[in-house]
């Protein structure tokens, strides 16, 4: 028995060494060709609570990398190499994952899905003087006071305002809010929504929170039901959302569910519908991107073909835009130096698949509209577009 075990262990070891060789060779070849490489860090959560969304964002970045695999710095063609680091959706892992990218010598970093981890890693990038472009981290804290953090999506305050405005427009006067403890994204959105909903003349009848990795929301939802709320704003991850929706249905809760950009995710809707048909019907979520538009058809079709999927998620589009913004900045800077790229980022201006991209002095993108989607028959469909001027 022991001998077999020893044999098995040595096989594993040998395999490990061989695998190591494989990697070594490939990077060696890259170097021997005289090809120059610029490293772009991908700071994303590919596992953990937000693993589902993070992976889709990484796919968008990978697709952009396929479309534009090289960048011209000065007169030389550099190959763009993606270095992916998983922050495991965990605030305490975030700094480790960020330091890994710094040590790998990345010139610029993209990500992450989820504001909490982005906030946690912000200081690492700032100290290392490497610019970072957030794709879908919508909490104001991400870029505030950090000259090295940029982002291509709108802010939670805007998103919450749009949803609060829409709820009032629909004639709802009583709203309930459900947020996740310890999740900056969820708490931030919840607070903004409460403020704006009250400002627009509504009343918050129930405000509750649930711990991370919770799996039973019945008691919370029962409280919502007895509070008489007409709509429920539940900023939550796509792991939590389907369970909330299903349990709300089995409790017979009839209030309209409203969610933030995380909910614009076909997998989330499918998962929820798979467990309890009809539980997503009528939900409202705000998002950045309408994949049915004509001007984004090339991107949508190209991505669908490359990744053999039939849906293009909003975070995928944002990942794509973030990568393109990074490439533009690197070209404009004409250097692989972090500071030069950061300075160049402030001058970047182009039309991405999620709309015009240009950064203000805070590092936020100047977007003035949000798309609202609703679920109908188990699919997310375009509902409305709300612009800044509407909600003022």
């Amino acid at each position: 028995m022991r001998r077999i075990l020893a044999l098995a262990m040595s096989c594993v070891l040998v395999l490990g060494i061989l695998a190591g060789c494989g990697n070594g060779n490939s990077s060696g070849e890259g170097g021997s060709d005289g090809e120059k490489v610029i490293k772009v860090g991908v700071f994303e959560c590919t596992t953990g609570e937000n693993g589902g969304g993070g992976q889709l964002e990484v796919n968008g970045i990978k697709y952009a990398n396929q479309i534009k695999p090289t960048v011209k710095i000065g007169d030389e063609e550099y190959k763009v190499e993606l270095v992916i680091s998983d922050n495991k959706s965990d605030k305490s892992e975030a700094a480790n994952a960020a330091s890994y990218l710094v040590n790998e010598g990345c010139s610029i970093v993209l990500g992450s899905y989820g504001s909490a981890v982005s906030i946690a890693a912000g200081s690492v990038f700032k100290e290392a003087e490497i610019p970072a472009i957030g794709c879908s981290c919508t909490n104001p804290q991400v870029t505030l006071g950090n000259d090295y953090y940029f982002r291509v999506c709108f802010l939670d305050s805007f998103q919450a305002k749009v949803l609060a405005y829409y709820a009032i427009e629909q004639g709802y006067t009583k709203a309930a809010v459900l947020t996740q403890v310890g999740d900056d994204y969820s708490i931030g959105l919840g607070q903004f929504f409460q403020e704006y909903f009250v400002e627009f003349g509504g009343e918050i009848v129930s405000s509750q929170s649930f711990p991370a990795n919770n799996s039973d929301y019945s008691a919370l939802l029962q409280n919502v039901k007895s509070s008489g709320a007409q709509c429920v704003f539940a900023p939550s991850s796509i792991t939590a959302a389907p369970v909330i929706l299903q349990q709300a249905q089995s409790l017979g809760l009839e209030a309209v569910f409203m969610g933030p950009d995380t909910w614009d995710n076909a997998d989330m809707i499918n998962t929820a519908e798979g467990g309890a048909a009809g539980c997503t019907e009528g939900l409202i979520c705000s998002t950045f991107f309408d994949d049915s538009g004509d001007d984004v058809a090339d991107f949508v079709n190209g991505y669908k073909e490359a990744f053999e999927t039939d849906t293009v998620n909003v975070v995928t589009a944002l990942g794509y835009d973030a990568y393109m913004a990074a490439i533009q900045a690197i070209e404009a800077a004409g250097s692989t130096d972090g500071n030069a790229i950061r300075d160049a980022l402030t001058g970047v201006s182009f039309t991405g698949v999620t709309g015009p991209i240009a950064f203000d002095q805070n590092g936020d993108v100047a977007k003035d509209s949000a798309v609202l989607k609703t679920a109908s028959g188990g699919k997310l469909v375009y509902a409305d577009t709300v612009t800044v001027t509407d909600v003022q």
Binding site: Q55, V181, Q208, N213, Q222, N223, G274
Partner: protein
């Protein structure tokens, strides 16, 4: 709190409490015999969730084929874990085997992440568990009624097994005194394997009943229920099967009613479970039904 909320909370707490009870029994049985807190138990529960998904969603087996298959697979997993990670350490200090259990727990979580990715998978709907029911203004699914019934039936069956059968007697003997039991001709390895198999089957039943109304399985989904059921087992008196059962129901009720009565404290419902553990350990370290432990000299 109005009457509807009260009754709805009762239904919720009994349904979740009985699922906890099933998992807690696994902790308590293994502890009774090996004096080992099997930290991997929560992850065995998670794996049972994945087995069900594969059996029903990927291989499209009907539930009456899938459920026995899942139970068998989970029992096998429990036994294999015991053989690989715990048996070689039988004569090692108790701490080593506990650390091995923590290692198995991490292994299963990461192995599941590797195999099934970190993305949550949706748990398949099992028809007879999802019949919507209405009782006055209280709405529930059949699973909320089936879960406590299944739990009570299984606990009674398990008690009969332990108290009335030959293998049960062997288990009790092993729990009382490991070495003497061995000297009396009890095949101790077989008894231990059997214990792990039974514990894992209960975890699998618990998984099916737990995930059915909370249909989201991901590699870490066994962590929190696992910890809570460990608390339940300690609360009821670790080593005692009825104790684990009562502990499970208490945790379920405390968790639900805390949220129902104090909505503002809802975010702390998990924390409260662990406060309960600390209080219990301070006031009555042996738990509600636990025996006073007399150390053998």
């Amino acid at each position: 709190m109005d009457l509807t909320t009260f009754f709805q909370s009762c239904v919720t707490s009994v349904s979740i409490g009985s699922a906890y009870a099933l998992i807690a029994i696994g902790y308590t049985m293994v502890y009774g015999i090996l004096r080992l807190i099997n930290f991997a138990h929560g992850d065995i529960f998670m794996m049972a969730g994945y087995f069900t998904i594969f059996a029903m969603s990927n291989f499209m087996l009907p539930w009456y084929v899938a459920i026995p298959l899942v139970l068998a697979m989970t029992a096998l997993l429990g036994v294999v874990i015991e053989r690989i990670a715990y048996k070689p350490l039988r004569s090692a200090p108790r701490m080593s085997i506990m650390i091995s259990a923590i290692g198995v727990s991490f292994f299963l979580e990461n192995f599941a992440t590797y195999l099934f990715t970190g993305l949550p998978k949706s748990f398949p709907g099992i028809g007879f568990l999802q019949i919507p029911m209405e009782w006055g203004s209280v709405k529930l699914q059949s699973v909320s009624i089936i879960t406590p019934i299944v739990t009570i039936v299984l606990v009674v069956a398990l008690m009969t097994l332990v108290n009335k059968t030959k293998i049960g007697m062997a288990m009790r003997a092993a729990a009382k005194d490991f070495e003497t039991a061995q000297l009396m001709g009890i095949k101790i390895n077989r008894v231990i394997s059997f214990t792990f198999a039974v514990g894992s089957v209960l975890a699998a039943v618990g998984a099916i009943l737990y995930f059915s109304p909370r249909p989201m399985v991901y590699p870490y989904s066994g962590m929190m229920p696992g910890l809570k059921c460990f608390v339940a087992a300690v609360l009821g008196g670790i080593g005692s099967i009825p104790g684990a059962c009562i502990g499970g129901f208490i945790i379920g009720a405390v968790e639900t009613f805390l949220v129902a009565m104090f909505p503002t404290l809802s975010g702390y419902s998990d924390a409260f479970t662990f406060v309960l553990l600390i209080l219990m350990l301070l006031v009555r370290p042996t738990g509600l039904l636990g025996e006073k432990m007399t150390d053998k000299v």
